[in-house]
Amino acid sequence: MIALEFPPINEVLRWKDLFPGFNKIALIVVAAALIGSLIFLLAGNKDPMKAPKGIRNLAESIVEFIENGIIMQTMGRDGLGWTPFLLSLFVFIYLCNVPGVIPLLQMPATARMALPLFLSLVVWVVFIGTGIKHQGGLGYLKSSLFPPGVPKALYVLVTPIELISTFFVRPFSLTVRLFANMLAGHMLLVTFAVLSKALFQAEGNPGLIPVGILPLAMLVGLTAFEVMVAFLQAYIFTILASVYIGSAAHPEH
């Protein structure tokens, strides 16, 4: 007979303060910012005229991925000025996601509401600011609330939908997408870890112990899956930010 106790959700998500006001999530975000800066700092220190290898190659591949894989696909050549912002967004989110699969840390910083909320608010402010800068306040409101090419009578329907979807659903879905994906991955890993631990420690029924291999194998597979999800969510967050900024800058697209 085994007793499987799933810990309360706050116990797998909340962390005690390491120092007053500084917990594991804070440690992860600070480490992410430091590691990201360090990668680009070291990459910048290498001789640029040689063929890039090692850390410089890594940094340049990331930059080119942002430029060719995200900006050119969504904003076109005009958007290349946004590279540093989207680059820092991508690198920061990835480095905050990836501790979810790093042993001992085992916690994606993005599985807490604070980080995704802050990042999507930043993106929200940036794309509204871009729209106002490129089209003027009224022009931006007009182009986003009254999309051209719609019959006049339909504006009764379209305008409220556009208002809600552009100014409220966008930041909300950005936040929830990143947060819920990472939270779901974290919970999945916790579930299988708890299950395999319970099976390996099954008392009074040694026959159950080898069965623990199954959830352990699943745990390993899901860890690999989470590595992919960590990248994919950073990519999707960045590409959506790029799409929103692009649509604010050039409404006709």
Binding site: P7, W15, V29, A33, S37, S88
Partner: protein
């Protein structure tokens, strides 16, 4: 609230909700992950479960918000004003040098092509020149040969004519000797037959007539 899934030896699975008060482990309220819902007087120990379920897991925590916001803003500003421009400058410098290298290579290649073309033109001109020289030499040789052949022919003809003349002269000399000998014989024969010496002029005329008739 804890969820317990109990698998019994018979194979039945029972799911039930149990409270965690099973084992007694009392903790200090400050060890809770969050402020307990019901404030406890300081110094008293409480059970783990008395910390309560805590705030909703969805709510953002202010300290996490502050740390993550600060970290991201610092990172983004560093990236915007320091890290990215530095990397980009290096990349652009390298790309430019690569492009320059390409252009230099292109220029060198086209230079080499034009040199090859010049060389080929020179070779063609030289070939034409050589053909001309060869033709001229052939013409000269031909004429020289013709001249030599003609000279040889004339020499041969002259020699042949001289030989013919010599032969004629010898023949005439021989004929003259034969005529005189025959005249002598005819004269002596006629003298023996007639007893008188015939006129030598008449005899030689007759012999010449007979011989030229015989030679005919």
């Amino acid at each position: 609230m804890l969820t317990a899934v109990v698998i019994q030896p018979s194979g039945a699975v029972r799911v039930s909700f149990v409270s965690a008060g099973g084992e007694e482990h009392l903790i200090d309220p400050s060890e809770c992950l969050f402020e307990p819902e019901n404030p406890v007087p300081a110094g008293t120990k409480i059970e783990q479960s008395e910390c309560g379920p805590g705030p909703s897991p969805i709510l953002p925590e202010m300290k996490e918000l502050a740390w993550s916001g600060g970290a991201f803003l610092v990172f983004a500003i560093l990236m915007r004003y320091f890290l990215y421009p530095r990397l980009r400058k290096g990349m652009d410098a390298r790309y430019n040098s690569i492009r320059e290298g390409h252009e230099n290579a292109d220029a060198a290649r086209s230079g080499a092509r034009s040199e090859v073309a010049q060389y080929e033109a020179a070779v063609a001109a030289a070939k034409v020149e050589a053909a001309k020289v060869v033709d001229a030499a052939r013409v000269t040789l031909e004429s020289e040969r013709n001249a030599k052949i003609a000279e040889a022919n004339t020499r041969i003809n002259a020699k042949r004519e001289a030989a013919q003349r010599d032969a004629e002269a010898a023949k005439a000399a021989v004929r003259g000797q034969i005529e005189s000998a025959v005249s002598d014989v005819v004269t002596s024969a006629v003298e023996a037959a007639t007893g008188k010496r015939p006129d030598s002029a008449a005899v030689s005329r007759a012999v010449a007539d007979v011989m030229s008739a015989g030679a005919r």
